[in-house]
Subunit: 680 residues, 2 copies
């Protein structure tokens, strides 16, 4: 389609939200104008006015910024196709079909992101974020010529001709599974069918992957983050972009080992270990698919595309790859680039033609989940230097802006998940999640999961009775140690100050060290010197990794921090910074970003441009192997102190009164400030 | 690779048998020169001098036609790589490795078509024809970088990098089944591997379909013609082009119906009929694969490419497509274009990555077998007007030259196979295959299958005792009726002349008509008037189809005739012409072309350019539906006469004394000569 020659006198049309604009001759179809500008407007029926997917809205008024006065009178009146559609189906007030309406004057046209033509109930939005669509699957309605003895072209070949004529797809590859079914479907649809065309890359030949009789006005996709502990899956409409249902399940591989390395060990020790774990994850995925489909009233064979992300070990096990090589240096990934595969090859109970896309892995310990989180949060799209941290037993760290992105993983161990803490527990009802310590009395007050009031409020005792106070979860551990530091109970070196035992009965001797009694109940909960050390080690590893990346970027501060994952969602950024888990930053620029990996997977599902974006970004990301960096040890030692031996936290200090430093760094000691241009 | 700037002073190099030529700087590798000229020279090791596949021979002498004096001294002396190869393996006298030898003067270089580096015994050549190679599979040896913690690219990604660096393949797609195996194979081969790359079309992305540790210096393919009665399969080396083994088997679908239409009926009557027939053919194919591999000592997983042809119904059943639509008008093929598929999707026990290619079908009754025969015999490559006929229950007819090709099928019925003939039988020991009748005495002499002497020779009786004289096979029926005509026993209208009963006791009354006693034995064999009529009907249908094609081509004679298939191999062209099965032609230009479909399949297997050639040819072939042509009936009626009511057979008459015509066509009657420019 050649762009029509434009002149200054032709109407100016501006498409929102993309902002793309162009001049078109009066009488140009709005859909055609959008396509010429590369604005994605869905259309299944190819402009026949029957699918209703190409809805638009005219925004009225004068848009001074764009120099456009848009009015309802600048678009053609309701045509026959639109009238027929509006009568047979619902067309909301103000909505027009862009395949019918034509441009008659300057227009500002809004492409609504919520066009729903089926009475699908959206039970749960995975995320409120609207994702601009350009899916790898396109549903194409065509009317195929009937067979003719004079023209012996096969049924499939005539279908291909129609797809080229109406949709411009040439050189289509046809999935083998369709060959035996093409003739019946064509006759069932009386020579009208909807073809599902998969084309992920513009350079690839389009594939015919599914075929439906008549108009098939819906197609679905799933986006899934396979975590070590939890698997989260979203079911989205590929035609509206809406998430129809979401569900989660425990990763059944937990029975083969709680953490990743123990799963790798299981594979190394058991000849069939890899297969067993792969089968286990495929089975639970099929269970989730069934659950989502049942909830949403969707037939699994209508799911035509699927995007998966996961850390490198989950990524490999999902693909049936033995993860043994990831268990030791040089931590070689079997495949790091994006993987294109077939759902049927991965035993997923979807359509036989359903495609699978996996985002690329960044490095042996920084997986496709980190890539997805990067895609979601977009440090590579920003001016600001953004730090993205996903804390697990391995913390995955990404730091960068639009000119450069670096990434690393840091072996934080399971302390942040409460595993090495004497009173630690998983986040569950009864676990302490919030702590405040009075710096005068050293008395704590707490809040537990499942109970609204704080422990010093009247209703607490009554409400806490049914759960009890059972332990301290990850976010509670961060808070209690940070508050102990702020109250002067522990020094900047992490030592519980035994001299305070004289002032408070909560400081008690415990062999050669001291402990702090956080809760005196049937089960007293005590923070020991070892607990403090475990957190110091974990946070020092994380911070040292971050510092290495800051060194690579030659910066001594970050502009923005995103905390991903469950841990990131529940910890209070202020306390994380007081402990020195993350570098100094304006507190209002530190945000929990939720399941950013799942959001990134959804983006890649709904828009193939995001696949190219993250593939290019990952190729450009510089990966730092923390273990090989000579500075790691120095950063680690400095980071053992609270918040840090040498790094100042000036922006934190504006909000929080930090205890005075015991001593200033000696004049000769290197500071990050002086190292700033080291690699510049 | 940019072509080096050439100058008149640079040596001239001529490659045979292609005849491509060019000037190259002294010191240019011969392999490199061949590649620059687009001459296909195999090389698995990529110029490392270890695979020995790139052998050439220098032709010595002055080649006046090309203006080249080629000498052994115009090529570099044996280099280190060649010496090492010649010591470790055999390098025949005069052979050089083109990856090692360089151009030092004018050269005529021969690319031998029989380079064998393994001690493979070639048991049976499918055909003596040498097929120039350019297979869809390329074996590529590469040395892959080892993993490095500083560069976290995955193992597969580094393999891809090596394939791009050494072989120029970018944007490779990797078969899912390889993902779980890549790491082990790389380590087994100590980071040296041979990748099997499939790229059928230049526009398609190359696919990595198999991977072997170290140097894998062999790869195989199968070419198979699935006939209604017989399935023929050839196993060829993709690297030398040699056919290693051939085998045939009965089509097990015979138990579902002897002829094609009865198999279609079986499918229509039985809900699982299609699946049962598809499974039956897949099973027998797997049996043949096993047999060929056992005979040749080849592992089936080393078969990486496969080409299948067959008539439309076999084509569909092989692909699992219900052939019901082919059973009635408009005879719609499910798919007419070439099919690209996977062996694993078709349940073939080959490598998981093995690809399948099927040639296009020409029309609903003119299948991929006819396309393959066309590719083999090449009417579209000739100046001469060539007629290609494959006689079965449906005769497939192709007529054309390089400017235009037309095709049709004609419903000859089973008479030529002996099915509607009173004394007819399949070709087997004891069947009459040759007949001569003395025009004076009207006494016949015969020859039977399995017995060398004629019936009037002394040893016949003794030798024929063990077989008996049991019936008349297809070629015998053609001969006896033609001889009866030549002896004047039957008139040009096909009537057995009862008046001759007075002259010979072999002419006997048979109700209202007469019969000819061909053999008086325990089982007398008689040619009845009905038998003559059956052959007349069959040959008239065939000839009428041919005439329609001649009309389309505006010709009244053909230059060359190829008779394909078993029937075509055994009938005597002279008698076929006397009966008027085929049009008048110089008898020495009428040839049996054997299993031309199988040869065409082998060509498509060994050279992907032939795939493009036949795809383009089939697209351009004009298909004539005989049933829809108004002239068919007229041609049919004229063709009922022997050899024909109106067509003269002047070239036949030069060799054979034809009985005088009863009458000449009336002055007003149309002749083909007058119709010549009807469609011009």
């Amino acid at each position: 389609m050649n762009r029509q020659a434009e002149s200054d006198k032709d109407p100016l049309v501006l498409f929102m939200p993309s902002g793309r604009r162009g001049r078109f001759k009066k009488g140009t179809q709005v859909l055609e104008a959008a396509r010429q500008l590369g604005v994605y407007v869905e259309s299944v029926c190819g402009g026949r006015g029957i699918c209703g997917r190409c809805q638009i809205e005219v925004q009225e008024g004068h848009f001074a910024k764009h120099g456009v006065t848009s009015a309802d009178t600048h678009i053609s009146a309701f045509g026959a196709k639109e009238k027929r559609y509006a009568e047979k189906r619902e067309l909301k007030d103000g909505r027009r079909l862009s395949c019918s309406a034509t441009i008659e004057g300057d227009l500002v046209v809004d492409i609504p992101q919520d066009v729903q033509v089926n009475a699908q109930i959206v039970r749960k939005a995975a995320d409120t974020r609207l994702i601009e669509r350009n899916p790898a699957i396109q549903m194409c309605y065509v009317e195929v010529e009937e067979p003719d003895m004079h023209k012996p072209l096969g049924d499939l070949d005539r279908l291909k001709t129609a797809l080229e004529r109406d949709w411009g797809f040439s050189d289509i590859i046809v999935d083998q599974h369709l060959l035996p079914r093409v003739q019946k479907i064509l006759r069932q649809g009386k020579w009208s069918v909807t073809a599902a065309i998969h084309r992920d890359m513009d350079t690839a030949r389009p594939s015919l992957i599914a075929l439906y009789p008549g108009l098939k006005n819906e197609a679905y996709g799933i986006a899934c983050d396979i975590g070590s502990t939890t698997i989260a899956m979203h079911l989205s409409s590929l035609l509206s972009g809406l998430t129809i249902a979401s569900a989660g399940a425990s990763n059944p591989q937990i029975r083969f080992g709680e953490d990743l390395m123990s799963r790798v060990s299981y594979v190394m020790m058991n000849p069939d270990g890899c297969e067993a774990m792969t089968n286990a994850v495929h089975n639970v995925l099929n269970g989730l698919i069934e659950e989502l489909c049942a909830e949403a009233g969707v037939d699994p064979v209508d799911i035509l595309d699927a995007v998966f992300v996961g850390n490198p070990i989950m990524h490999h096990l999902f693909l049936g790859i033995d993860p043994t090589e990831l268990g030791g240096a040089p931590f070689a990934l079997a495949v790091s680039g994006a993987v294109h595969s077939w759902a049927s090859d991965l035993n997923l109970a979807l359509n036989h033609g359903t495609r699978v896309y996996m985002l690329p892995c960044i490095a042996g310990h920084v997986g496709a989940d980190a890539a997805a989180a990067t895609l979601s949060e977009g440090p590579h799209r920003q001016d600001e230097m953004m730090l993205l941290v996903d804390v697990g037993t391995n913390a995955e760290i990404v730091l960068g802006n639009q000119s450069r992105v670096v990434a690393a993983s840091s072996p934080t161990g399971p302390a942040f998940e409460g595993a090495e803490i004497s009173c630690g527990q998983r986040a569950a009802a009864g676990a302490i999640e919030r702590v405040r310590i009075d710096p005068q009395t050293l008395e704590p007050r707490i809040r537990i999961i499942g109970v609204e009031p704080w422990s010093d409020e009247p209703d607490f005792a009554a409400q806490a009775e049914k759960t009890g106070v059972t332990g301290v979860c990850g976010s509670g551990i961060i808070e209690v140690i940070a508050e102990m530091y702020l109250a002067g109970i522990i020094t900047e070196d992490g030592v519980i100050d035994g001299s305070l035992a004289a002032r408070s009965k909560r400081i008690v001797e415990d062999g050669r060290t001291f402990s702090y009694i956080l809760w005196e109940g049937e089960t007293p909960l005590t923070i020991t010197q070892n607990d403090v050390r475990a957190i110091q080690l974990a946070k020092a590893a994380l911070y040292a990794g971050i510092k290495l990346l800051m060194d690579k970027q030659s910066v001594d501060q970050v502009d923005r921090i995103g905390l991903a994952g469950a841990f990131g969602s529940f910890i209070d950024p202020k306390y994380a910074m007081v402990l020195g888990l993350v570098p100094d930053c304006d507190l209002d620029k530190v945000k929990a970003v939720g399941n950013a990996a799942g959001t990134g997977a959804r983006m890649a599902l709904l828009n193939r441009d995001y696949r190219r974006e993250i593939e290019q970004t990952v190729t450009a990301i510089e990966k730092i192997e923390t273990a090989l960096e000579p500075k790691f040890q120095e950063h680690f030692v400095n980071a053992m102190a609270l918040p840090n031996k040498i790094d100042p936290f000036p922006r934190l200090a504006e909000t929080v009164t930090l205890p005075p430093k015991a001593k200033q760094p000696a004049a000769g000691e290197a500071t990050t400030g002086r190292r700033r241009r080291r690699r510049g």
